[in-house]
């Protein structure tokens, strides 16, 4: 505790005798805080020894003179040495403060220098940008000037060439003029000489002609006096020549025109036909368009078919229309051809692909076949034989199948006829039954004392019609039963639903009739026509059955072979 107070006193002492620098330093932020509390926190009464040892360590580290004697115990401290030590420390502190201040100064200087540099840098960058821009601007100007220079040079060259050309022309013209001038001068001189000669010459030789005898005219005719008539005749002849020439030319041109028009129309027709055939093929795809096009085509065709032969197509309007229509058709044709080409290409590609696939398939098949063939030989021949037999069988069967198909078709037809006949027959039967009922009724009634007057009346009721028909029918007995049947059917306008009657029903229906036929001759007559049918029916039925058997047989065969 005394030490601490000593220490405190020492400190206070230092404070009191404080030199201005100390004060100054003390003002700095780096000075120790005048907080005595920190002193107390470091060293307390309890940890004095530790503090001391610590301080000793630090001092030794700082290489200050020790303030303690080794021999002494911790409790004994050399005050002078401590003061010295403290003084050293203070000096040290001052020194460090100074260096700090220096460093701070340096740092400020440096930072200001850096700022300065930065501003300089930005300035310089801006300047560089500006100069770059200026440079590009100048380059652009230079380029433009170059271009201008080139164009000016070329125009100069052109001008020079033209000047040269004009000079050449002028020189040649000058040459020509000079030549001409000289020639004329020479001629003039000759004339002058001649004139002089003539003036000098006394004897003038006159023009003379000496003929042995006059010749006759080339065409043998007499020459005519020159009168107005002859002049008029000459004029007339001249105009006639001109006119005939014009007429000839016009005729030729008209012929040519006609030929060309014919050719044009032919072309147009052909193009239209090509387009139409094309359109039929593409009908499903472009119905609307087609409709429009065909309509317009038809329109045009109408227009031209009407005017083609009748008028001579002298009007420009028709001619223009024709040429326009041809142009239109030609364009359409072109587009169609292009489309066709593209389609063809696609198809070609597709077909090629298919061919390739088929080829591959064939190859694999061949491969397999070869493999099969490469197996033992006895199997080979048997299989071959089998194959041959199979093929033969197949062929025969296909033929039979065809024939059977035909027969089936015939039978179908017959069956239809039968059903119709059956239906009719049923009708007849019904009517007959009714009739019979009536007749029985009548009989019954006739047996009774009343109702005789009703007989003829009743008789006429249903079968009267039939009687007339049978008469008709008998007339046509020789004809096919179909016809009278049709007559009967037509008379009865009852609609009958043609149910698919089985053969049994038909048979029963038919069997019924021969039973009843014997009683009524009328009915026999009526059904006599059906007899022929009956006769045919069993035959056909037989055939049909046979065919059925055959077909079944063949079917079975097929089943066996398949």
């Amino acid at each position: 505790m005394p030490d601490s107070s000593q220490v405190k006193d020492a400190r206070r002492c230092s404070v009191e005798c404080g030199t201005p620098p100390l004060r100054h330093f003390s003002q700095s932020s780096l000075a120790l805080p005048r907080n005595s509390q920190s002193l107390r926190t470091f060293c307390t009464e309890h940890n004095m020894q530790e503090c001391l040892s610590y301080i000793k360590q630090e001092v030794s580290l700082l290489s200050l003179s020790p303030f303690w004697t080794e021999l002494d115990d911790d409790s004994q401290l050399n005050v002078v040495a401590v003061l010295n030590c403290m003084y050293d420390l203070i000096q040290l502190h001052h020194r460090s403060l100074r260096t700090l201040e220096n460093m701070e100064m340096e740092q400020l200087k440096l930072s200001s220098y850096v700022d300065n540099l930065k501003t300089n840098n930005t300035h310089l960058k801006e300047e560089v940008e500006l100069s770059k821009r200026q440079n590009t601007g100048l380059l652009e100007r230079e380029r433009q000037l170059h271009l201008k220079l080139k164009s000016l040079q070329s125009s100069l060259k052109n001008e020079k060439d033209e000047v040269q050309k004009l000079q050449n022309i002028t020189s040649s013209r000058a040459c020509q003029y000079n030549h001409e001038m000289k020639r004329r001068e020479r001629e003039l001189n000759k004339l002058r000489e001649r004139l002089n000669q003539l003036l000098a010459d006394k004897k003038e030789r006159k023009q003379t002609i000496d003929l042995l005898n006059n010749l006759g005219r080339a065409d043998g005719k007499r020459s005519l006096w020159k009168t107005e008539k002859t002049e008029a005749k000459h004029e007339e002849e001249m105009y006639r020549t001109l006119l005939s020439d014009y007429e000839l030319r016009q005729r030729e041109l008209a012929l040519e025109n006609k030929e060309l028009r014919k050719v044009m129309q032919q072309i147009k027709k052909e193009m239209v036909s090509i387009l139409k055939s094309r359109k039929l093929a593409l009908k499903e795809e472009k119905q609307e368009l087609n409709g429009m096009q065909t309509a317009s085509d038809d329109e045009e065709n109408e227009v031209f078919d009407s005017s083609k032969e009748s008028l001579e197509l002298f009007c420009i309007h028709a001619r223009e229309k024709l040429t326009n229509s041809i142009r239109l058709q030609w364009r359409r044709l072109k587009s169609h051809v292009e489309k066709l080409d593209s389609q063809e290409k696609e198809e070609m590609d597709r077909l090629k692909l298919e061919i390739q696939q088929c080829k591959d398939f064939i190859q694999t098949q061949q491969h397999l076949l070869q493999r099969q063939l490469s197996s033992p030989i006895d199997q080979d021949s048997a299989s071959l034989q089998n194959d041959g037999l199979m093929l033969q069988e197949k062929m025969r069967l296909s033929e039979e199948w065809k024939s059977l198909e035909e027969q089936r078709r015939i039978f179908e037809r017959e069956r239809r006829n039968y059903t119709e006949a059956a239906i009719r027959l049923s009708h007849e039967r019904k009517i007959f039954e009714e009739d019979r009922a009536l007749w029985l009724k009548q009989q019954f009634l006739s047996m009774s004392p009343f109702g005789n007057s009703n007989q003829p009346h009743l008789l006429k009721s249903a079968s009267a019609l039939l009687i007339t028909e049978t008469e008709v029918g008998s007339l046509n007995a020789s004809e096919m039963p179909h016809e009278c049947q049709s007559v009967l059917v037509s008379q009865k306008s009852r609609s009958v639903s043609l149910t698919s009657s089985s053969t049994d029903d038909l048979e029963s229906a038919l069997c019924l009739i021969p039973e009843n036929g014997s009683s009524e001759h009328r009915k026999s007559e009526l059904f006599g026509d059906f007899n022929s049918l009956h006769e045919n029916v069993p035959l056909r039925r037989k055939q049909w059955k046979e065919s059925k058997d055959l077909s079944s047989h063949s079917l079975s065969e097929e089943n066996s072979t398949a």
Partner: protein, 452 residues
């Protein structure tokens, strides 16, 4: 192909009669008339001076011989050798003389083109036509011989007079829109008159028979213009050859250009055949020869040549004309249609060794014939599409659609073919040298085989 023997002629005066039976030649001051098939001399006439111009009348009965220096024209009759006719122009001089289409009038152009005197052999009457124009082609008769068109110049303006040849009645007289009329030509159907300006201005005018201007055509300005003009025999086309080495074809319906044929120095990109004349080396002279053995046989020294087909591109040798001279040797100077109007043969003056044959149906180049020497003369066969040409050597060249051939003229001595003329039936060609002439009979059967 047969060649006749060589006969003498002077001044390239050798003409076949229009009916094709006789051949008239002038040798100095003599007029010799031969039978064409036998070449026997039928008649011999003597003129007063060296003949400058000789012409058959249209009915093949009379021959006109003009002597320009003396100003005399003598007419001879074939039927009556005793008949004579002499026209003396006197002091006024004579520059050209021609028959009228009816064969009974003679038109003499006086010196300095002062006037044209029309002499009638039927009545001895004289008519005068004043101030005809002195130009390349100032006078033309229509094909049927009924009209004559004459270019005149009055008051520094060009005009045209149309006369009826029957009685020399002036039918029409009209001014033309030309600066300096160079020539005029009737169309073969006699209804249109083509008139063209001098080379200083490219202008072609088309007038109807009654004097109306139908159309004007001008391809370009300032450069030298029209050099040659030719109608197709069907009157459908008018070919105009100009100094810019091009031929322009006008059609008779609209009188507008339908196609333009160019003559480039390098031929490429065409379906035409290019024939090039290739000379074979002459036969080697034997080592041993003495003066006796050496024969002055021209065949020993002349070179054989044949046509070879060249593959494209082909370069045609072109000669650059002298720019300081007038009427430069450049441009299409000669145009010739074949008789069926199917082909057109042209010659470009700065490529003088080449003849260009154009197909008028296809409107494209058909063939180009290139030779070793400049082509001097080329003419179509009057009956079929066959072209005969000569280059001043001793060969005759023939082209037909089937091919072309060069034939050596088997004549002793130095015979250089300067010009040629076809017989009117196309069976023979008259080859004219400097002082000689020779007939070449075509083997028509062979030729037809060649053509087919």
């Amino acid at each position: 192909m047969n060649f006749s023997e060589v006969f003498k002629q002077s001044n390239q005066l050798c003409k076949v009669s229009p009916d094709g039976k006789y051949l008239a030649t002038c040798v100095q001051y003599r007029l010799v008339v031969r039978d064409i098939s036998t070449l026997q001399i039928l008649q011999l006439y003597t003129c007063l001076d060296q003949v400058s111009h000789m012409e058959w009348s249209s009915d093949s009965l009379f021959i006109l011989c003009a002597m320009y220096k003396r100003g005399l024209v003598q007419v001879w009759s074939l039927e009556q050798p005793d008949w004579h006719c002499k026209i003396d122009e006197g002091s006024i001089g004579l520059v050209s003389s021609r028959w009228s289409p009816d064969g009974r009038h003679i038109l003499n152009t006086t010196e300095f083109h002062l006037r044209i005197t029309v002499w009638s052999l039927c009545t001895k009457a004289v008519s005068y036509i004043k101030y005809p124009k002195a130009c390349q082609k100032g006078i033309d008769f229509s094909t049927d011989g009924s009209y004559m068109a004459l270019a005149e110049r009055r008051d520094c303006k060009d005009c045209i007079s149309i006369f009826v040849c029957d009685d020399w009645h002036l039918l029409r007289h009209f001014e033309t829109e030309t600066q300096d009329l160079a020539g005029l030509e009737w169309s073969p159907n006699g209804c249109v008159l083509a008139v063209w300006d001098s080379c200083l201005e490219y202008k072609v005018l088309l007038y109807s028979l009654d004097g109306r201007l139908l159309s004007t055509y001008s391809a370009y300005e300032w450069s030298l213009g029209v050099k040659s003009v030719s109608w197709s025999p069907s009157s459908q086309f008018l070919a105009i050859g100009s100094y810019d080495e091009k031929v322009r074809i006008l059609n008779h319906i609209t009188w507008k250009k339908i196609v333009q044929f160019e003559h480039p120095a390098v031929i490429e990109n065409t379906k035409a055949t290019v024939y090039k004349e290739v000379e074979k080396r002459p036969a080697e002279v034997r080592d041993e020869f003495s003066l006796h053995n050496v024969t002055m046989d021209s065949t020993l020294f002349s070179t054989q040549s044949k046509y070879e087909i060249c593959s494209l591109p082909v370069q045609i040798p072109a000669v650059k004309p002298d720019p300081d001279r007038a009427n430069p040797k450049i441009g299409v100077s000669v145009l010739a249609f074949s008789s069926d109007s199917r082909y057109l043969a042209t010659k470009n003056d700065n490529m003088p060794t080449a003849i260009w044959v154009w197909d008028m149906q296809k409107m494209s180049l058909e063939a180009v014939l290139e030779h070793t020497l400049s082509v001097r003369c080329f003419l179509w066969d009057p009956c079929r599409p066959r072209l005969a040409l000569c280059t001043g050597n001793s060969k005759l060249y023939l082209w037909s659609p089937g091919g072309c051939v060069s034939v050596q003229v088997p004549v002793e001595g130095d015979f250089q073919v300067q010009s040629l003329k076809w017989h009117c039936n196309g069976d023979s060609v008259i080859l004219l040298g400097k002082e000689q002439l020779c007939l070449c009979y075509m083997d028509t059967e062979q030729e037809e085989k060649l053509n087919s």
